[in-house]
Symmetry: C2
């Protein structure tokens, strides 16, 4: 079975979509827990304007603290940390704090790009070309995000050839991996198959990651469709932190543990159990249940452990 390559975005995409803002201390604890749970790629923050995204305040201090823990051997050496940088200013901050990986993020529609980062797609790429050049010259890795790749709330479906063209442009900047993001949770598995088919004619799917939000309960279905086509890199947020997936208009994050469960099944039991502890900790912080459903074990043992009185309320009464 292929290796499941997870980028944990809970501390960034998760927290930035929570109304509650975590304290620096809580963020430090959260990141340490994630790194200790066996996650190897963690996006811990965003060097964006604190006015625009208050939840991402103190990303610099969080990065510094986390890297010091890693230097001290508290966090395993092989864990890779990254943060978003919208421009050169952000890059310099990231470099000064000692990060070895940053991520740039562009939209796949001008309308979304302007709402999201206040400039057109082309303008954002003009900035990112320079950011990448400088980052690479300083020895950093750069990851790229393409938002609303599966549909824009303002322009609707985004043409596949545009997405492919933007992937090419990012690739030419020297980005090592491009995360196609279903920002609105609009994607349908048939659409995933179609877009990935178009993409694979231009770039290896090994250089593509998928970032799904769960707008319609199809996020796992989309992950499965992509996995069957050879994609192995997926972004996830532990517990689905960041937006409640049960709201009709929510575009909550896909839960990391659910991706591991779907793709790894029993082979990921250990890591999933560690994440479950983190989810319980997070629930106390955010004050609502997170995506426990996808941490329910598939294993018969776990199902046997259910009191029948519970199972019976749903199935024993002439259940099908």
């Amino acid at each position: 079975m292929s290796e499941i390559n997870i980028l944990e975005v809970g501390p960034r995409d998760g927290l930035q979509n929570e109304s509650l803002t975590f304290s620096l201390k809580d963020k430090q604890e959260f990141v340490l827990k994630l790194a200790s749970a066996g996650l190897k790629r963690i996006e811990i923050g965003s060097f964006v304007s604190v006015q625009a995204v208050p939840q991402m305040a103190e990303t610099g201090s969080l990065v510094e603290h986390t890297l010091s823990l890693q230097k001290a051997g508290v966090i395993p050496k092989d864990v890779q940390f990254s943060a978003l940088v919208p421009n050169r200013h952000g890059l310099i901050e990231a470099v000064n704090r000692g990060l070895q990986e940053v991520a740039v993020f562009a939209g796949c529609s001008d309308s979304f790009s302007r709402k999201n980062i206040n400039c057109s797609i082309e303008e954002s790429f003009n900035i990112y070309v320079k950011v990448c050049e400088e980052a690479l010259s300083k020895g950093l890795r750069v990851r790229g995000y393409l938002s609303v790749a599966f549909g824009c709330p303002f322009e609707g479906i985004v043409p596949e050839d545009r997405v492919v063209e933007l992937i090419r442009k990012m690739k030419n900047m020297g980005v090592y991996e491009i995360s196609l993001s279903d920002t609105m949770g609009m994607a349908h598995p048939a659409q995933v198959e179609s877009l990935l088919t178009a993409v694979s004619k231009n770039i290896s799917l090994k250089e593509i990651a998928l970032h799904f939000h769960d707008g319609q309960g199809l996020a796992f279905c989309n992950v499965w469709a992509a996995w069957k086509m050879g994609v192995t890199a997926f972004d996830g947020s532990v517990g689905g932190l960041g937006g409640c997936p049960y709201s009709p208009i929510s575009v909550g994050n896909i839960p990391t543990e659910g991706i591991l469960r779907l793709l790894g099944r029993q082979s990921e039991e250990k890591r999933i159990n560690k994440l479950t502890d983190i989810i319980s900790w997070l629930e106390k912080k955010v004050g609502r249940p997170l995506s426990h459903r996808s941490t329910t074990s598939f294993s018969p043992a776990a199902l046997k452990s259910l009191p029948f009185s519970v199972a019976s309320s749903n199935s024993s009464k002439k259940g099908m």
Copy 2:
């Protein structure tokens, strides 16, 4: 695209898993609404012991009322109604009320069979052979359910060859369609692909229906995997009625509108909108939100209609 063949089980599998028991009048209204929404196959009840399943009380009166509406032309002639029958007594009731289709239900594990219908698999088949014989002799269609086909809470994973053997036995009874039921919501898409591959060597998948419960958020994923293999018949419960799919241990029903959305997409818009009205009506009755998420439209138009202030809470803040 293949025709999507839905059997609506809301009035039976949905209501029997709700704590609240609908009045006969409410059930009559519910069934009329479903039939008027364009659903062509509706399982409206179960001729089982009222002690065991109080929610299924008055199934006989419900059947009689519904068929009278159909005779009067209020309900389209091409809508097929059915009910579960556990034994000859149930069959006779169904016949006396004028039903033209009944369903028998057996387990795929002896432990579940004993808990569910108080006899072994073999004992249940000994009863069903006679029930089918009599039903067919009276000109009725008989459908068969195989419960816990994807895993039993007491015995764990059920061997594929046992499921195939039970399918053969049911087929030999003269059952026209066999519904493989993931009673516990345990199924994984890889398991669906594997079991259907084994089944297809023995029987056409056109004679197989799939009945998923959503124990882990993979029900749509399982439907998609089955659809890709050629299965077109699925059981669904409008709004996911019957158990809350958001509970860690719930095995809620898969929402009919979600199946139509996943498999039919825009082509099913009209029918889905009608079902959405029924869901709103049901929510008032059960006093909790049902699976609106899967009635969220995939169409860009609908997403455009979202106030950006709402979308922005999840996506505009440097969203990916």
